[in-house]
């Protein structure tokens, strides 16, 4: 994994337990099933949000796990948590599938995007790392939150976001990239993320409205 950024593994599970992905890469025959047991919920949740149908999501999940096993040797616990790495591989595949099919999920109603609690499962608790990420997200401007939530959580293209929100396309792009840059900076400031080149990130973030 080549990244100038480092996401610290804050979840104790990620440091106390041996890496499943390392065991997959090493050919441990029990590791793929453990990998599925631990991450299939996350991968399925990502796929359901970014795929157009449940059957499409099922196909995507299978492809993602194959990708994951092929990429397992690239996992480095000093760079990212397993959960983050798995989510990154999953998003790559899901974005790639969406682009290949040239269709995206329906744009959700805007009212749902910022605070959708209708179907929420009670009792869900965030890990410390997730809480920090969520807190960083909440520090963005509302427009940036809206754009990033549509892009990341709902898999909407910039064009779809522009249509759904009425923002000019250029504004959507600006909110998206500057919001992401700002979160990267905030995560670094909170110790979740460290970069080799903080000054440049800060310069980029300063341009954010």
């Amino acid at each position: 994994m080549r990244a100038s950024a480092t996401l610290a593994a804050r979840d104790p599970r990620l440091t106390d337990e041996p890496s499943i992905l390392a065991r997959v890469a090493a050919g441990d025959p029990s590791a793929p099933n453990e990998c599925i047991a631990r991450f299939s919920g996350l991968v399925w949740s990502l796929a359901r949000r970014l795929c157009s149908s449940p059957s499409d999501a099922e196909d995507a999940v299978q492809e993602i796990f194959i990708d994951l096993w092929k990429s397992a040797a690239r996992f480095d616990a000093s760079i990212a948590s397993e959960t983050t790495f798995v989510a990154m591989i999953a998003r790559r595949r899901l974005i790639d599938r969406g682009r290949r099919k040239m269709r995206r999920p329906e744009v959700p109603q805007i009212a749902e995007t910022v605070e959708d609690r209708r179907d929420r499962v009670d009792g869900t608790e965030l890990s410390e790392q997730q809480r920090l990420a969520q807190r960083a997200f909440e520090q963005l401007r509302p427009e940036q939150q809206q754009v990033l939530q549509l892009a990341i959580h709902h898999g909407c293209s910039h064009e779809q976001i522009a249509t759904a929100t009425g923002m000019p396309l250029g504004t959507v792009k600006t909110h998206a990239r500057r919001g992401l840059i700002k979160i990267r900076l905030l995560l670094e400031q909170q110790g979740v993320l460290s970069t080799e080149d903080r000054a440049r990130i800060e310069n980029a973030a300063e341009g954010a409205p």
Binding site: W44, A87, Q129
Partner: protein
Amino acid sequence: MTTAPSDFNRAAEALRERAAECALTGDRWSWEDEELARSLGIDLEAELEAFELVAAELAVAQIAGNRKVDDAVPAALRTKLGALAGAPIGTKPATPDARPTAFPARKPVSSLRVPLAAAAGLALGIGATVLVLRNDGRGGGADADAATASPAAFIRAHPRAVHWPWVGTTDPHVVGPVRGEAYFDPESERGILEIEGLAPNDPTVEQYQLWIFDAERDERYPVDGGVFDVTQAGRVLIPVQARLDVARPVMFAVTVEKPGGVVVSARQIAIVAKP
């Protein structure tokens, strides 16, 4: 000519914004951006991955904080994933007209490669291709989902899949006009074999074995696509799931082997599919 600090910062900022955008959209930057990044000493791939990690972190946080009722993994998908991970054969549903099997553990690849000179060449009627079939040690797995798909459905789901017609050899297992095609999608590494004209086999005596030839690999060492049985005369559909990368398939061959498949083929080729 040197770059002024302010120009440098602006250019670096623009490149970083481009990387952030690519992390969200899956776009790629232009070669001009790449050249500029190189001249400024910025690793765009590293920047992209850093932003991909940030986006992944946000996605995880959003899911954890907003888990929905339909986030539970369907039981059917769990079964498919179990099969994908190499679960015992008993966990895999059988296909209606063919019975794909799991792959037994085999010896390491390195000890099984056979030098070309040690194997007799095999000239096929449709093109003299020298084959030294080997098992890659990982094999492929049957996919229950693809088993229910028709070739048309497979092509719809995998529009970039290759599909080539089968051609029969003089092998006695070819018992009628050979029809059907081999369908394979290199991106998902899934495929489906539609075959007509092969004799039903007794799986306690012999099985059919698929081999996938990849332009990116030594042609002497095709990828093992798995063993399967033909349980009835007529048309059969065999799902394929390769677990090794098959970047550019150029030919498929089906051989007749002992039960469970082999690591080095007896080179009894029944049918071949190629462009």
